[in-house]
């Protein structure tokens, strides 16, 4: 289980760079990042090196920030790799709210962040099927 930060951003020029500047000044490293476009605002999802610190400095700068539990799965980089993971979740009756992927140097696999309705259950099911889950420490290596 890994903490993900959700940050409310207005869809206007410079908002994203302002936010990343706040994090860089706090010496927080970004591992993964995604934002979907909507008309006048977006929710930025990010996994960072120090979530508590990141949330604290962002709140100090007036951002609305939410910490959520997500799971990060190393998906083998071959055809069918993702579908196996999805099958495990589906068989366990777990709904995926959203997912996004990112790369992380020492890992050869594709890394995928899952936001699911039941994190504990999802982790147990994936562990049972020997799907490798990553911890923050794994990302820091």
């Amino acid at each position: 289980m890994i903490k993900q930060l959700s940050v409310f951003l207005e869809n206007s020029k410079g908002r994203l760079s302002q936010m990343t500047r706040v994090l860089s000044e706090a010496d927080v490293d970004l591992f993964a990042l995604t934002i979907a476009d909507t008309t006048n605002f977006g929710i930025l999802r990010t996994i960072v090196s120090d979530d508590e610190k990141a949330a604290k400095v962002l709140k100090e700068h007036g951002y609305t920030v939410r910490l959520n539990d997500v799971i990060v799965v190393a998906v083998p980089d071959h055809p069918g790799g993702l579908s196996h993971v999805l099958d495990v979740l589906t068989d366990s009756d777990i709904s995926i709210e959203y997912l996004y992927s990112f790369v992380n140097k020492p890992h050869e696999s594709a890394l995928i962040v899952f936001k699911v309705d039941d994190v504990e259950k999802a982790m147990n099911s994936l562990n049972e099927k020997n799907v490798p889950l990553l911890s923050r420490a794994d990302l820091m290596r």
Binding site: S6, N40, R66
Partner: protein, 434 residues
């Protein structure tokens, strides 16, 4: 054409005698029947019989919108409820409307004074008039409707909205007179253009009688050109009667006041002192002939000035200039009164947003647009977009309930809106003011 030529062209002496007689009577009626007025008179140390001349009017206390709100709903009626045959209402600052009532005589008077203004604006019994004001508690539609019927025009009670249908009716029924807000009329003209309808060739429009919101000479020029009409403006407010207080004749040089029923004064809004003719100030009106709700020295907050000279149309009734502004912060959006405090009450009742907001009013496609910017507070809504959308929609529907108009709700980041020390300036009105 005149509707009541005798009074519309009466001498100053005749008008003033009538005003004094009616003022004395109204003062007596409110003093005896409306506790709020008895208290106001007593506090000011004045009795109805102290009114000996029109000059004594300025000794009387003012009436304000809050008086109507404080006595909601019927506390200012001067007749028993069974004499009241109609009520109308306008939006108030707290969500409670201000209620006005009419006896049958009041309705007859209302349709007559409005009929005078319709005739002054060009309407004859041969005309077909399309009323594109919303029918309901709002006084606009009914005020015009009965006046036009009284003249003998054919009335199409189209109500507001459904613009393409409005245009279809206009074409098929050969409408000659359009009744609406000036901004809606301009919007109609835009839609006509999109539909490929040329008012000069395809329609029979001759006159537009516009009201319920102030407009500029530039707006009039646009309306006349686009719709191929003579456009006049009329003025009124529900607290006094609705539309019918004053209106332009086709010479378009100020709005003739129905002075025999409505005594208009212009005051300095700060000192309350009466200003001479020609000097701009706040319009104060006494509705001296009304039975259900006689109102004395009502502060309209509208800014105008009086024009005493005789008009070339032959009417001797004094004119008032177009309203140039308001002495408070009330916004008129698509003809609807909107107080920033109403918007605030909606926003502040939501736990999910910060108590900081901005209101932006724009005019797009000739229609007023209201945008409310508010800072997101509740981080839990960041779980997914639908929670944020739900919040936006909730605020939007709450605003519609209070204001009866649609607003765009824009969520912004906390701490990004202006903060104020002292009096907040939360309203940005980007509509052109000339």
């Amino acid at each position: 054409m005149f509707f009541e030529e005798k009074i519309e062209t009466a001498s100053r002496e005749t008008i003033e005698n009538l005003q004094l007689e009616r003022l004395k009577d109204a003062a007596k009626r409110v003093y005896e029947n409306v506790p709020l007025y008895k208290k106001k008179f007593d506090d000011a140390g004045i009795k109805p019989e102290d009114i000996k001349s029109l000059n004594d009017l300025k000794k009387l206390p003012f009436t304000v919108k809050d008086d109507l709100r404080d006595t909601y709903p019927f506390g200012m009626f001067a007749v028993p409820k069974e004499k009241v045959v109609r009520v109308h209402a306008s939006s108030g600052t707290t969500g409670k409307p201000t209620v006005v009532g009419y006896t049958q005589n009041d309705l007859n008077m209302w349709s007559s004074v409005m009929a005078r203004l319709c005739c002054a604006g060009g309407v004859t019994p041969h005309d077909t008039a399309q009323v594109a004001f919303g029918y309901g508690l709002f006084t606009g539609a009914f005020g015009l409707h009965y006046a036009l019927e009284k003249i003998g025009a054919m009335v199409i009670p189209a109500s507001s909205g459904n613009t393409e249908k409005q245009i279809m009716l206009m074409k098929d029924f050969e409408t000659t007179v359009l009744i609406s807000t000036p901004s809606y009329a301009l919007y109609i003209s835009e839609v006509m253009e999109q539909m490929g309808i040329d008012p000069k060739k395809d329609l029979k429009l001759k006159y537009g009688l516009f009201g319920a919101e102030a407009s500029t000479e530039e707006m009039r020029a646009q309306l006349e050109e686009r719709l191929n009409i003579t456009a006049t403006e009329n003025y009124g407010l529900s607290e006094i009667i609705g539309p019918g207080v004053s209106g332009e004749c086709t010479h378009k040089c100020g709005m003739h006041i129905n002075e025999d029923h409505f005594i208009v004064e212009i005051i300095d809004p700060k000192t309350g002192e009466v200003l001479p003719d020609g000097t701009p100030g706040e319009v104060v009106i006494s509705a001296v002939s009304k039975e259900a709700l006689p109102i004395l020295r009502y502060r309209t907050k509208d800014i105008s000035y009086l024009i005493p000279d005789k008009c070339s149309c032959g009417r001797t009734l004094k004119r008032m200039a177009k309203i140039t502004g308001r002495s408070d912060d009330m916004l008129i959006i698509r003809g609807v009164n909107v107080f920033p405090s109403q918007i605030e009450s909606v926003l502040l009742s939501s736990q999910d947003v910060e108590p900081h907001y901005e209101i932006i009013v724009r005019r797009e496609n000739w229609l007023d647009q209201l945008e409310v910017l508010v800072e997101l507070a509740d981080e839990r809504l960041l779980d997914n977009y639908s929670k944020l959308e739900k919040l936006q929609n909730k605020i939007k529907s709450d605003l519609r309930t209070i204001l009866s108009i649609d607003a765009t709700v824009t969520l912004v980041q906390p701490a990004t809106l202006k903060r104020f020390q002292g009096k907040a300036q939360r309203v940005t009105d980007l509509r052109e003011k000339k």
